[in-house]
């Protein structure tokens, strides 16, 4: 089936089998490997991307469902060569260890601070409760997302 998807602002057309999972379309067809595959069972959240601005687990959405829609992956966070505040904050606050969950954590975090730039610890933990960090490095992830909120407020 012929689909057209806008990924990180650029339009891509491709002929995909209906059973192609969105995560494979992103990683294999578009070669954007920042979106990871973890559990493949809708549990770990490392494959999270933004579909029309909303976080979804891309291992549990078919690529054909994204036809005509807009996707943001971790590669789309950087704007005009500048790190997105969430990326700057993860760097500043050491928000990653092995890095496997990081793209998803940053996307979920960016969505949270867009809605609520000053989240409490509990609000951040609630927002990322669908994302696992196998290094268990949650404390710095929470700090990073809160720091990103501060950077966003300072920059706007």
């Amino acid at each position: 089936m012929e689909i057209t998807v806008t990924v990180n602002g650029a339009e891509h057309s491709a002929d995909v089998e209906p059973r192609t999972l969105l995560v494979d379309f992103i990683r294999t067809d578009l070669a954007l490997t920042g979106t990871h595959i973890g559990c493949d069972t809708t549990a770990c959240g490392v494959c999270t991307v933004l579909l029309d601005g909303t976080p979804v687990k891309s291992c549990t959405v078919f690529a054909v469902q994204a036809n005509g829609k807009s996707i943001t992956t971790v590669e789309g966070l950087k704007q005009n060569g500048e790190l997105h505040p969430i990326q700057a904050a993860f760097k500043e606050e050491h928000g990653l260890q092995c890095g496997f969950c990081t793209p998803a954590m940053m996307l979920v975090g960016s969505k949270l601070i867009e809605d609520n730039p000053s989240p409490t610890d509990d609000e951040v933990r609630w927002a990322i409760s669908g994302n696992l960090c196998r290094c268990t490095g949650y404390i710095n992830i929470v700090k990073s997302i809160q720091r990103a909120g501060e950077l966003t407020k300072a920059g706007s």
Binding site: M1, E17, P18, R19, T20, L21, D24, T28, I37, D40, T41, T42, A43, G45, T48, T54, P55, V56, K57, T60, V61, F62, V64, Q65, N67, V108, W126, A127, S129, G130, N131
Partner: protein, 306 residues
């Protein structure tokens, strides 16, 4: 796609994404039992990947307009087929109209799954470990289904849920709505206080896991302060979502008290037959049912008396 050989992948299927409800009903009328409806897909897609489900045709209803509303009318709070769990979490109308639903919504799976998954899909899927079916049983819900040749059919939830992963939905029917009755006190006075309440208690090992135990409750009080309506249903402690009719009958017509709730909770505990597994022993789960039923009834009463 080389990765197909080592990854979990569904069997090939025919994908249709109609833009009107009529087209959906046409495909169902023509292809019937070979069709699965794709709404949120948060249970269906994993099942297809595990090849527990291999529909020949997948009908994606996400492009059909007019199926994503939450509304009140004709004595019901109505949730249409494409309403996501997080839409229910955010809905002021649900907070005002159904305490049981408002209480359950934030505990469905995890925040990202809640962005996609739907209440109607969850009920139609009827996983016995699903939370919504219990809430709907306690609240006395109805499922509205439509087919091209049969028109609209309103199915009481107790008739709709037949056995685990099974419902009385015909292969040609689409679930268009799930609806719960409004509080009786509002049937005569639109803005009357609810004089009813509801609750969902859920124990889970971690967010996103199935419930170890879930208990849904719903209570309404009559003019004399006695219980006029009562609903209790249990998740994950029986081969199917279990409505505890005997305990409901005990409550209806009585005046609420701690002793009465303790007695109802004891009935719920003895009515279920959980399995011992990694989430806990059967004995433990039964005791959690008792404690949750007491707590749930007390919380429901607090809403009803507010």
């Amino acid at each position: 796609m080389a990765s197909l050989e080592v990854r979990m992948y569904p069997r090939a299927f025919d994908y249709v994404a109609p833009e009107t409800k009529e087209e959906v009903l046409d495909v169902l009328a023509e292809r019937g039992s070979e069709v699965k409806i794709l709404a949120g897909g948060q249970s269906l897609v994993p099942m297809m990947k595990l090849r527990l489900a291999s529909p020949a045709t997948l009908v994606d209803i996400n492009n059909v307009p007019g199926l994503d509303g939450i509304s009140i009318g004709n004595g019901h709070l109505t949730v249409q087929a494409l309403v996501r769990h997080n839409d229910i979490v955010d809905s002021e109308l649900v907070k005002t109209e159904s305490a049981a639903m408002a209480s359950a919504a934030p505990w469905i799976s995890d925040p990202i799954v809640r962005n996609r998954g739907t209440l109607a899909g969850s009920v139609a899927h009827h996983d016995p470990e699903g939370d919504w079916a219990s809430v709907m049983l306690a609240a006395g819900a109805e499922v509205v289904a439509e087919s091209r040749d049969g028109g609209e059919r309103v199915i009481p939830i107790t008739d709709f849920l037949t056995d685990m992963f099974s419902t009385s939905l015909e292969p040609t029917e689409l679930v268009t709505e799930v609806r719960v009755p409004r509080y009786e006190s509002r049937t005569t006075h639109e803005h009357a206080p609810p004089r009813g309440g509801g609750n969902y208690q859920k124990l889970e090992r971690k967010i996103g896991d199935y419930a170890t135990v879930g208990v849904a409750t719903h209570l309404e009080l009559g003019d004399d302060g006695g219980i006029s309506k009562a609903g209790i249903a249990l998740t994950s402690v029986h081969p199917y979502n279990l409505k505890v009719t005997e305990a409901e009958h005990l409550l209806i017509g009585s005046h609420p008290s701690e002793e009465l709730f303790a007695e109802a909770a004891e009935i719920a505990k003895n009515a279920c037959s959980p399995a011992s597994d990694v989430r806990g022993s059967a004995e433990y789960k039964k005791d959690v049912v008792r404690v949750f039923t007491e707590r749930g009834l007390a919380a429901s009463l607090a809403g009803a008396s507010a």
